[in-house]
């Protein structure tokens, strides 16, 4: 009963704050739907991964090679395996996910005392 009377008293008078927040909600939701719809409606190209840059720095265990992996496809790649080789020594790292048009970094470690010249490649990935 108490609620009923309150309901009656507020009926018809909209709060200014309510309207502002509702407009914000409308904008945010519409933008989210638009972004998701654009990506859902676009022709989904499979992941296309490439190693874009490498930076090498000395660490306690030898050398750390930081690689930047870029996905120029539309779909997400999961469990991306990266392998680096230097004379007989193989290092590897795994990236959980690289979203479409996204990039991630991974670090490979080599134990050589001299500055290694590694051959780095992506050995494979799976669908998420």
């Amino acid at each position: 009963m108490k609620m009923k009377s309150r309901e009656k008293s507020v009926r018809g008078q909209l709060s200014w704050l309510q309207c502002v927040c509702a407009v914000l909600g409308l904008i945010v939701t519409a933008v989210a739907i638009a972004v998701l719809a654009r990506s859902a409606l676009a022709d989904q190209r499979p992941p296309d991964l490439a190693i874009m840059s490498q930076t090498l720095r000395p660490v306690g265990a030898g050398w750390a090679l930081e690689v930047r992996v870029v996905n120029s496809g539309d779909m997400t790649a999961a469990a991306v395996e990266i392998e680096g080789r230097v004379d007989g020594e193989t290092s590897g790292a795994t990236l959980d996910y690289i979203p479409g048009h996204g990039e991630k970094r991974a670090t490979l470690v080599f134990s050589s005392a001299e500055r290694p010249r590694a051959r780095v490649r992506i050995t494979g990935w799976s669908d998420p």
Binding site: S15, L17, Q18, G25, A32, V35, A40
Partner: protein, 272 residues
């Protein structure tokens, strides 16, 4: 002067409603925001499913604004405004918290928006049941007026409210893989039994006082459980949990998730 005072009072009232909405959003969605599967799903789930999740949520949120809500205001305009406000609350709360946890994947616009919107929907749902959860007044809520379809809607909302926290987790799949067919069947029977007992004991408003247990079973328990199965399947589909599964495995997954959903549906009157 008097109009200005009452106008100010309206704003202050709504401010406290908003505070309650944020409280409800956090209370309900924090477990999901702190679940790593949800962070990954925001990036890895198929974009059309993430989109379907947000769009399908809108009528459910509107229904909750009508039957529960975080303010005492009602009517088409107020319900619509409150639905949008709940979404604003959901989006801002999830964006802020996920950013603070540093779990957002900024590598593309779709990944950030996907992660935030996946969390914003349950947060908005939490905001819209805030009046029931946080008002401290047991009489708050409009379920007394709910019609039969309204009661079924509330059961669906309760099922979503309770099962959504479990649906994205890896444990649900593992239980479905580990359980035997007879175990799944047992779970199905247990779900129906508990749903029936709780619904019949709690007594829905639309239910006649002298309604027989059989009548209640046909009117509420069976359609309620069907809604739980449908809601479970929908959630599993959005999260990509049943892709590539055979019919038996799909059913095991659905039945396992429908168990918490059935408890949520049965306790709908307490939850939402």
């Amino acid at each position: 002067m008097k109009t200005a005072d009452s106008g100010m009072g309206t704003e202050v009232d709504y401010l406290s409603d908003m505070g309650r909405a944020f409280g409800g959003a956090l209370l309900f969605s924090l477990p999901l925001m702190m679940t790593m599967e949800m962070w990954a799903l925001g990036v890895s789930a198929a974009p059309e499913r993430r989109l379907a999740f947000v769009i399908a949520a809108l009528p459910v949120l509107y229904g909750l604004a009508h039957y529960a809500g975080f303010s005492a205001r009602r009517g088409l305009v107020n319900n619509s405004l409150d639905t949008l406000v709940a979404l604003a609350v959901g989006f801002s709360a999830s964006a802020a918290l996920l950013a603070m946890f540093n779990v957002l994947d900024y590598s593309s616009l779709t990944s950030v928006v996907g992660q935030i919107s996946l969390q914003a929907v349950p947060a908005a749902l939490g905001a819209l049941v805030a009046r029931r959860q946080l008002s401290g007044d047991a009489e708050e809520g409009d379920e007394e007026e709910a019609s039969y379809p309204g009661e079924l809607f509330l059961m669906l909302a309760g099922a979503l409210f309770f099962a959504m926290n479990l649906a994205p987790t890896e444990e649900m799949r593992l239980i479905a893989y580990l359980t035997t067919p007879s175990g799944a069947l047992g779970l199905l029977v247990l779900s129906l039994l508990l749903l029936h007992i709780i619904v019949f004991e709690a007594g829905f408003a639309g239910q006649e006082e002298k309604e027989s247990p059989l009548r209640a079973f046909l009117d509420f328990t069976l359609p309620g459980y069907a809604l739980c199965l449908a809601a479970s399947f929908a959630m599993l589909w959005v999260f990509g949990a049943v892709d590539g599964h055979g019919a038996g495995a799909v059913m095991a997954n659905v039945v396992v998730l429908a168990f918490p959903a059935a408890l949520g549906a049965a306790a709908a009157r307490l939850l939402v």
